[in-house]
């Protein structure tokens, strides 16, 4: 007998005919989780990729190679670009469609997916919110670790204080803004008789760049199912008039060096940022920041603030992943969320007065000292040595 809630649905994002990398990363993690799930519970639940697009059949085949058991493909010219309203409507239709689930499983009792993944990017974050509002279930955002477990829960509201076993519960780990704490979110049915209610799917948005895709395997086989969406004029009331591709003014990809700063600038923030900028200039480097800096915690002049303390410069899981030849972390303690964004760098130099800060384990040279003392000295030396050195372009 099939369950009311089964399978893991993954909402795929694509651009210009290609999957956005996080889509394949989500499929990879979904594959690993469901392999473990099916083994542990002797089950046969599927990884189901959900694609809204136009002329994207080739992409659907690729998704099978990357771990999907089944792909539900909704083709329409209306899906050329993502639009929250109509996308939400159609994803909800698909997620609650038993006939579709029957194409790749028994599904005789199917009501909704057991689990659901979205990308934690500009599109997926909003789409996950509206879809889960429509499906009236729980959603955790910005997840970077997932575990499926049977848990015994005692909760004032969920279980009226009684110990209740929740099987096949998705533990969704999200790093908090500091990068030092991990919060585990669960989406649980209310088993308390006074407020009894079932909450499925258990859903989350997943941080790009965290999970690994599985290796592309062209021998993998799966079912591609078409779905004809139902929508009307009202669902299409948002019109995309124009779409312009812009390149970020901050270019981390083509520079050889990056100088980043964090909360360590605090003693004289304005001067320290200018000093970091000088150092970057001397090395022809781009300037990066840690996540807390983008919240503008320091009062500095408007020019400095709008040039440097901006989300565009954030390096880490909430920002960009970089891999320059040389990475200099000035006044950065090294929260996990930052490390994830720079660990692929070639050579890492940290400037920090505290030898116990985690960045020490992530750098090749640890300069112990306050940045206001170290950087002027370093700049002097860099300038002194420069005439004798020719930097290859």
């Amino acid at each position: 007998m099939s369950a009311k809630y089964e399978h893991l649905y993954v909402v795929i994002e694509h651009e210009d005919g290609k999957p956005v990398p996080v889509s394949l990363e989500m499929l990879g993690e979904a594959r690993r989780l469901m392999n473990g799930f099916n083994k542990k519970y002797s089950a046969n639940e599927k990884v189901v990729a959900l694609v809204l697009g136009n002329n994207m059949r080739r992409l659907c085949e690729e998704l099978i190679f990357y771990g999907a058991d089944a792909v539900i493909y909704v083709d329409s010219p209306e899906f050329q670009y993502s639009r929250n309203l109509v996308d939400t409507k159609v994803i909800s239709q698909v997620a609650t469609n038993k006939e579709l689930a029957k194409k790749f499983s028994d599904a005789s009792n199917f009501i909704k997916p057991r689990y659901m993944f979205f990308a934690a990017d500009n599109i997926g974050r909003q789409l996950s919110s509206t879809v889960l509002a429509d499906l009236e279930s729980g959603l955790a955002s910005d997840i970077n670790k997932l575990v499926i477990e049977d848990l015994e829960i005692k909760h004032e509201h969920k279980t009226k204080g009684q110990a209740v076993k929740y099987e096949k519960t998705l533990e969704m780990y999200r790093p908090d803004f500091s990068g030092f704490l991990w919060t585990t979110i669960l989406c649980l049915d209310n088993r308390n008789p006074a407020i009894e209610r079932e909450y499925h799917p258990q859903a989350c948005s997943i941080i790009p760049g965290v999970f690994l895709p599985i290796e592309r395997d062209t021998s993998r086989r799966g079912v591609i199912t078409d779905y004809i969406p139902k929508f009307d004029e009202r669902d299409l009331r948002v019109k995309v008039l124009d779409r312009k591709i812009v390149k970020s003014a901050v270019d981390f990809d083509s520079c050889k060096a990056i100088v980043s700063f964090g909360r360590g600038i605090k003693d004289s923030s304005e001067q320290n940022i200018k000093m970091v900028a000088d150092l970057a200039q001397a090395l022809e480097a781009e300037v990066g920041v840690s996540l807390p800096i983008s919240k503008k915690p320091f009062a500095v002049s408007e020019g400095v603030s709008s040039t440097y303390m901006i989300p565009d410069r954030v390096i880490g899981t909430s920002g960009r992943k970089v891999a320059p030849l040389l990475y200099i972390a000035a006044g950065i303690s090294g929260a996990m969320q930052h490390i994830a964004g720079m660990k692929e760098s070639g050579f890492v130099v940290a400037i920090n007065p505290d030898e116990n800060s985690p960045i020490k384990d992530e750098c090749d040279i640890f300069i112990k000292g306050r940045m206001e003392d170290v950087i002027p000295l370093l700049l002097e030396e860099l300038r002194k040595q420069k005439p004798a050195i020719e930097v290859k372009k």
Binding site: D121, R125, E136, R237, V391
Partner: protein, 293 residues
Amino acid sequence: MSDLKIAVIVKLEPDFSEGNVSYNADGTLNRAETKSILGPHSAVASSAAFYAKVKYGARIAVTTMGPPIADTALQQAQLLCDADELHLYSDRMFAGADTLATAEVLKTGISKVEGGKMDIVFSGHRASDGETGQTGPQTAWKLGFTFLGNVIDYNVDMQNRVVRARRMISLQGFYDVIEEVEAPLPVFIAIDPSYKASFNTVSQRLAFEKYQKEAKERAQNYKQYLKIFNAQQLGVDPKLVGLPGSPTIVYKVERIPKAKASRKAEVVDGSSRDQIAKVAAKMYEVLGGMVIK
């Protein structure tokens, strides 16, 4: 005064600015010692609403869900947008709500208190503490309003009652896209942090000054504009709000385990010129420089 009606959803958040924010020794936020203010994204949403007041003479209600002290967030928002009304949805029953249960209160508040006649509802991009960015779109969906996220600027075609907005979308591994969209009112706009209002005509600048002056006066006497609603007055279903109405729970909070050292650092004394000189040489070497002897 036009007939454009606007609601702004704001949030009282920890103040992350230096001198106000306090961190524990382990790097986590010390909530007890950290002051609370109007969240920075809420401030941007308020500024976006003020633009409609200056340009279209919109009527503005600022709303929040929170404890009684959250009225300070309403006051700070009023100073930014010259709000005509301030609404606080406050009840012990709302405590501990996740985004879905919060959206239920905000939806009920906006549709009942404001009579469901809103043309535009603004929210910030995400809160600085929770950082989910889910409450805005979920409130929009429950209201049945068109949701437009990451909006960097907007204008209203008052005659056709249509919003034109530009959205900034970042795509991992691709490029950024600026998308121009059009949607009939009512809409829900989550405003991007990069939003900046600009006032181009003389009449707009005059209106700007007039309303800004008015905002200062109003915010000084903000309690005159403040109405507080509890769960019963809002008429929310107790099963759909607060902890009982939240599908999700926080199961545990733990310190993220320190990763295994991935590099072995050479420790250098930052006050030693000799050692720093060697670091400088190493930097040039890494960058592919060649020493010319």
